[in-house]
Symmetry: D2
């Protein structure tokens, strides 16, 4: 059993706490949160103590730190935990600022750090990558990544989100890098505000298309909207020399109703905690593997690279031209 | 060009006339109907003459006769046309009475007669049979034939229909024989009147399940209802030693709407003339092949055998026990 | 927290133990198994003690007993636990002998007993029932229950299984009763041995069709095979006055490969512990609800009724005639 | 009956000839082709005379001219036929040169000219547009148009094709205009040569993504490849404020094979003459309507506008920047 502590008892922190607590090789050994009541509530739920950051860092029995606090603290906590010799599970994004993120390179480049891009652990996307890697459809040529949220967040969230590219598309940039097999060398982004005018007043967009191109000419389109109108819409199509492999949305059940109107399937899963429940479990399982010695499947450098693409997309949007990332 | 004449200018006759007229190797050389106005209208539409039966039979240039008149005339016209040396295209059923149908054996057993079980010519069911015959899923073990009409016919039709088994399930009995590769040796039927009480008052049923068993133990269930609630419902599942092959319903288009309610496909085709438009064309093409010398793919003996199964099902229903056909 | 004990540390017992141990309102307070090593191993895995049956029954703090031992012990343990005032979670079937099962009526009719027909807790079948109950497709008229195992069990299992109807179709009889809304009054079964001749030598069948009819004329076909050739095949179609609702098989992922051969979906789930993992969790959750006072959703009487239908099917098969259950 | 003549007896001309000849309101009254043998063969097939262009233009009984000759002749024949007072059915593209096409404005702007963008007449895309126009999914926000050929044409064709944008994507630009409800004001294209290096040596690309933006901010991505690896791949997704509507590829049949590998659908239609057989029929039917007085659904101005977008895409590709069309 590896002892791990959680920093950040918010919504996503509670998911990770629960997965760690239920994992056969992990023990949730402490909860840390700036808001004492939040820490107490979550700690009590899992029979774990509330700790201070210092206590956790100084306890040599604690092998892993799960960082699910606010984005602006991700880097500092990661550096601190890495320095203390802990394995780090850090929520995405690594930071909202590429310069800051890169500046942590000395501290984090060789840390045992899992950057928690949950989609890499989703069974559907993993099955897609396995098909691609198997060579069953030949050599990859292009990608279509569709990633639409069910509904836009409140303006208060938008204001501190870092913008659509860093907040939402960051996952898609990571998916693109994971699947393309080459780094994008050119980024073009175009965007509009079509969903909620308030998002536009805050200087952000809610609808975007980003086109990536790699050195060998592979193309990738990322389609984003803050609102799909039909639930959580996360699909990937990978086109290759001998066919295509796609991962589709997930429905609530396999039930269909056939009526005069035709065949109607059940609703698409609407909430990311449902859609990615298994991905979060697999991600925590991978963290347990890391504590057993397995290298991180996705780490600090991936977090920086995805952030660089997000910044490039924002720059392209501002300039109205393709840019190098 | 082979000259063919049509007997019976009703709904199905008009389909066959149109397909014959457009066929590159057929010429619609005459229309025969007891109702002169019907014959005139259809003949004019295709620039063909109205003929009497005698004229058609006596004209040695006429090679084929398409019989689409009322069911009680099918046998007589077939015998007459066969005796005149014509190739015969006879609408199903061969007759409503098994004794009568069998009595025509001497006259029709070796006639060039296509019994127009249109489903044998449907591209979907043909593709299913091709898969089965290819051995791709091993040896056939059982069949599920689902055959539901969009809506019940008027009681006036029910009264002269010959009953659900002879009128509607006759197609399914033919499909069963075509696919099973063995003759059924046992028939069990159960039925209810759930759709329209008037059908029950006329002594018929509107909902049925028929179970066939062959000598080697292959099983087939035929599911029938006079009303599906969702269009023309005609599906087959064939289970074999290495998997299953199925043919599904046909939709109006490939369009789907994705909304909060989920993914909704377009309507299923509702009308048999839409659903089987291509089957009717292929059937006529096969008749052209017969006029070129190809043997009939489905003939008199098949019509009798399907009718025997329909009678057996009716007998089983009446007795409440399985029977031999 | 309700304390529960498990009797029977075999394959299905281990699933229930794990679900109980992880349930927020349940505590696995003991493991009982005739084979001490099995009991020890499972108990240790969950940090629970090994108990004798007497210890468990005498401990007033233990509120619930999960019976996952061999079929021939289900009734005795249920009676004993009910007499001790425990809530009972009893694996299906209630027994292999209808007379014995009925004889326990006095002891079990009003017991707090959950008969663990897991499919009632499957999210897909629950969604199907919810649609049906919502009236969205009108009044139920007929059911098609398809239930095929991936591959036949070894002959040694067949020999003690009680036969296809009691061992395998018992689930389907329960589904039929759950959905039909009326008790079947007539049962007709036909069967063959097509999958494995050894099954036939043991006096059993491996392929069957059973037709049920209720007093109002509702029809239900149950299709069974010991081997599907394509994984765990468990589907239901419910036909009603305004359409149809169906629950389909579950695939390993949403991934499709599109190639010259067409679109190929991922494999169907093959193993019942995968296919019904969520059903087993929901079932245990319901048991927790029972310990909080909720009546059992499916109990002793349901177990007896499903067994009666299984015996009727076996009788019909032997007689070659429909029978009353 | 309206008399129409065909100019150009090549592959697509033969399709139009056949559809005109079978149309109940059209009579194929002549075939014109620079290669006499081609004209003779097709004319004979339909019992029509071979004509010279002058004969056709001078014959006041001929109401319509179908232009299916080589692209460089489309404009001249259209101008000539319009001047002769004929209704014109002109194959796409209107021309390969935007300047030339625009120069014909005086002659063709008010001509009765159907520019034969066949996809506008495809039942699937029409059903998609009908859903969109119905308001069922709210206000359109963005489009994904996927358009991949089964396999690349020979280099000899590429050399005279006008390039991927004018030859292949021209259809997609028309679809975009048809569905967007607004003219694109910005075009960005990126492309690669990934399918066949010979295409690159000829200065063309075989893989492209084009992003269109309208004045109100609607976005459209067009994805093109000269080779799909799985047949004719032509799909559209339209995203709107209340959901999405999509049109999918068409399969050869509804047959599926279920095996250990999962469910495999039948092949996608591979050949454009199969995929769009009905579209070609509907297109000719619309031409018949035009001869009865209906205005053209898609005409000269649409041909010029699609060509302008194709030229803009080529310019954007060359410049590496978005451009105005």
């Amino acid at each position: 059993m590896h002892k791990v502590v959680l920093i950040g008892a918010g919504r996503i922190g509670r998911i990770h706490a629960s997965n760690a607590a239920r994992h056969p090789r992990l023990q949730l050994a402490g909860v840390i949160d700036a808001i004492d009541a939040s820490a107490q509530a979550l700690a009590q739920e899992h029979g774990a103590p509330v700790l201070t950051l210092d206590q956790a860092m100084d306890d040599a029995d604690i092998g892993g730190v799960i960082i699910a606090s606010s984005t602006d603290t991700h880097l500092d906590y990661s550096v601190r935990a890495a320095a203390a010799g802990k394995a780090v599970f850090c929520e995405k994004p690594i930071d909202q600022d590429l310069g800051r993120a890169r500046a942590a390179s000395a501290a984090l480049s060789s840390a045992r750090l899992l950057l928690a891009f949950n989609r890499r652990f989703d069974p559907n996307f993993r099955a897609l990558k396995a098909k691609l890697d198997s060579g069953a459809i030949g050599t990859l040529e292009s990608l279509q990544i569709t990633s639409n949220d069910p509904a836009p967040p409140p303006p208060s969230y938008i204001a501190v989100s870092g913008g659509l590219f860093k907040d939402m598309a960051i996952h898609d940039f990571d998916m693109a890098r994971w699947l393309l097999g080459e780094e994008p060398v050119q980024v073009y982004a175009v965007g509009s505000c079509l969903v909620d005018p308030e998002i536009g007043r805050l200087g952000d967009i809610d609808t975007a298309r980003t086109v990536l191109k790699t050195a060998s000419g592979r193309l990738c389109v990322i389609s984003n909207s803050r609102r799909s109108g039909f639930g959580y819409d996360q699909r990937i199509e990978a086109y290759a020399s001998a066919g295509m492999v796609r991962a589709d949305n997930v429905t609530e059940s396999t039930v269909q109703v056939w009526s005069e109107a035709g065949a109607a399937a059940d609703r698409f899963q609407n909430f990311f905690l449902d859609r990615y429940a298994e991905a979060y479990r697999q991600e925590m399982d991978h963290f347990a593997d890391m504590l057993d010695g397995t290298p991180a499947a996705v780490g600090y450098a991936d977090g920086v690279a995805a952030l660089a693409l997000a910044e490039a997309a924002a720059r392209s949007l501002a300039l109205g031209q393709p840019v190098a990332p």
